[in-house]
Subunit: 427 residues, 2 copies
């Protein structure tokens, strides 16, 4: 083959909505073949078609209400095999060679934690061989094979993105393109803020904070993986040819003249728990968090204020997923005597709004502006938590949209054109 340009290796990931129908599959195939025809080697990772995963979950539920995790993984991984085989067929129909591989065949080696396996190693020998033969390679996302038992595993939510980034790292790809139903990473959710701006570039650290604070475009684990292996991730729309957002580089690489703040993220998925009048002595807070951790409930924000005068007691507040709230309260209540608190308060009608930006470090006054903007809009702040490049607060869930809007405006994050919103998300 004669190529004018140096051959690049491109990993592309397509979400479930991008491959939901035969027609969309053919469109995705066209884009893949186009990339190949530009002279690049192409590795593609597809999620399961549209609602396939939900349908399989529903089937399992009809059979039993406590399916073993190993079998759940065997069941769910079939969804990605189906979509990847179909995309391979569509590529063939366009005259290019394509071969689909399961996670196991692709050498995605994981821990044995079914449903939430972590990638330990990637041994892409078979993929490399296929690429060397000029074939387009497809890999079923979201799945791997456990190192010890050789059983089929799944990587949990957003797993296909992680598969794509892990393959890009192992194959030393030039870029990992994540095709999704939005045009890129925005300065806020375009469904809430009409002039939300698409970002051209964002550092790994900022993207991590955005993902941790509720931005759903990329999952936290995928960004962590990309950062560790320095894989440039290009988030873009599968419906247009527009350039999206590149996640790359550390905060230090971002030119100083660029906007000091990246965006506003929000999250409706959390609930708040307050443990009231806990003895303010070493070990008592640990007892609370051990109890919650034992139940495998993830804690996000934690706040402990100073002791109330003369009582020797303090209150601890934390947030956890709404879906785990009832269980968290139940577990703590069961250990009330042992832990020694007065009562448990819980609140699921909250929302979290966060401002993220690497420039925050060097620009004083951000916190003041943040609080003033919310106060002027009459939004009450329930709880504040910050990191070096982030400020997060809890507010009433009914006031969350307004909080996002006023912060976005106060920090002048808006662009010139209105953002385009498509429906549906992939896995």
């Amino acid at each position: 083959m004669c190529k004018d340009l140096a051959v690049a290796l491109v990993v592309q990931k397509y979400g479930g909505s991008s491959v939901a129908t035969a027609e969309r599959i053919r469109r995705v195939a066209e884009r893949i073949v186009e990339t190949k025809k530009q002279g690049h080697d192409v590795v593609v990772v597809c999620s399961a078609m549209g609602d396939t995963t939900d349908e399989l979950l529903d089937l399992a539920e009809q059979v039993t209400d406590a399916p073993p995790a190993r079998e759940m993984d065997m069941l769910l991984t079939s969804g990605e095999r189906i979509s990847n085989a179909l995309v391979a067929m569509a590529i063939h129909a366009l005259g290019e060679e394509a071969r689909s591989f399961s996670g196991s065949q692709a050498g995605i080696i994981t821990t044995g934690a079914h449903g939430t396996a972590k990638i330990i190693d990637v041994t892409p020998g078979r993929l490399r061989e296929a690429l060397d033969e000029g074939t387009i390679v497809l890999v079923a996302g979201f799945q791997g094979v456990s190192q010890d038992s050789k059983d089929v595993t799944t990587l949990g939510r957003g797993g296909s993105d992680t598969t794509a980034v892990a393959l890009a790292a192992a194959l030393k790809a030039d870029v990992c393109e994540i095709y999704t139903d939005v045009d890129g990473i925005f300065s806020a959710d375009p469904r809430i803020v009409s002039d939300a701006q698409k970002l051209d570039q964002i550092s790994y650290e900022e993207m991590l904070e955005m993902a941790a604070c509720g931005s759903k475009v990329l999952m936290l684990r995928c960004v962590e993986y990309a950062r560790r292996y320095n894989v440039p991730v290009h988030v873009r729309s599968s419906y247009t040819d527009k350039i999206g957002t590149t996640v790359f580089g550390s905060m230090e690489d971002i030119p100083v003249e660029q906007a000091i703040l990246t965006g506003v993220a929000h999250d409706r998925s959390e609930a708040k728990v307050t443990v009231v009048a806990l003895p303010d002595e070493p070990g008592y807070a640990a007892k609370v968090f051990r109890a919650v951790a034992d139940a495998e409930i993830n804690i996000d924000m934690v706040l402990q204020n100073i002791s109330k005068v003369d009582t020797g007691k303090t209150d601890i507040t934390f947030t956890c997923p709404k879906t785990d709230l009832a269980r968290a309260v139940e577990i703590l209540t069961a250990r009330q005597d042992e832990i020694g608190f007065a009562e448990i308060l819980s609140d699921s009608e909250i929302g979290k709004v966060s401002l993220v930006g690497a420039g925050m470090k060097s620009h004083p006054g951000v916190t003041a502006t943040f609080c003033e903007a919310l106060a002027n809009a009459g939004v009450n702040i329930d709880l504040i938590s910050t990191s070096e490049i982030r400020i997060s607060v809890l507010v009433r869930d009914t006031e969350l949209d307004e909080a996002v809007q006023v912060l976005h405006k106060a920090f002048d994050l808006g662009g010139d054109e209105a953002a385009v919103v498509h429906g549906g998300t992939g896995r």
Copy 2:
């Protein structure tokens, strides 16, 4: 574990209709657990649920009209992974341990012929290990992994039966139970002959002839495999607890006092081609069959009668699948000059009726009775072909049912009770 009885190893295979819904899956699980509780080790092979395979084929067709065979296998094999994982879940819900394995994990090593792979070897190390731990083992039927490319392969029609028999052979199982929607092997199709009798036992050779002549309960390849490895196959209904039919032993093992004839089989799937006025010299018939074989069309019956006086020409008639008829005629017509025949006649409105029985060898007069029975019913015989234990004739397709009925009656094959007919078949 304390067991009163010697532990047996039982392989059970369930067809697609037996696992078509969550409710049926739970029922199948109950039967499996019951076998386990009797103290046996159990290996289960399930087909894909109900119409899953057709739905996947339909999806592929929507994407392209020429799907590559490798990807087709990747696509279709997901159906069996789904059903086997669900059955494993249902078994768990009943309190027994169960683990599902893909064909590749189960060590089903095949040729690389996608869509029609043959089993080369079975290396059931992981299954044996799981059995030794007291676990019920499930294996996705119809699939394996190619020895050379390590790609996923499928075994073609009836593949799950072959998987079950191959596992039974490799694991030295005491019996391979094939659960289906009929009560066993019958002396004729119960939908045509109301007093068709369920056979208690049938030899491998007789079963091979029955399968080759259109009996659809067991596929030819599965019986060949069972015979080669001497695996007793028990064909029975998944809807009842009744004993079915055991396929076992050679013709010589069948007691002499048993019925001399086994049953009447019929086949509507074939068409007839006659090559008229072919030179009756060495090599001309070979040219005809080479042309058909090159097109990968299977020939069943072949008949060449003596030359017509003085012409030096002869007619050759053969049968092939109806679905290949047009292609066969086209291929032969294209080579008419080269082969040197006068014309091609074809007829797809035919049916084949066969009488099978080991006793035929030692009982003269069977052919005479056979022809008399059809003549008395006014059924015209178009073509006759025999083996040591079989007589087959072609008749008009409109007269096929009657031919089956009168032969069944003439050889007194009927039982006392009417046969029960269920709907649907598995893969």
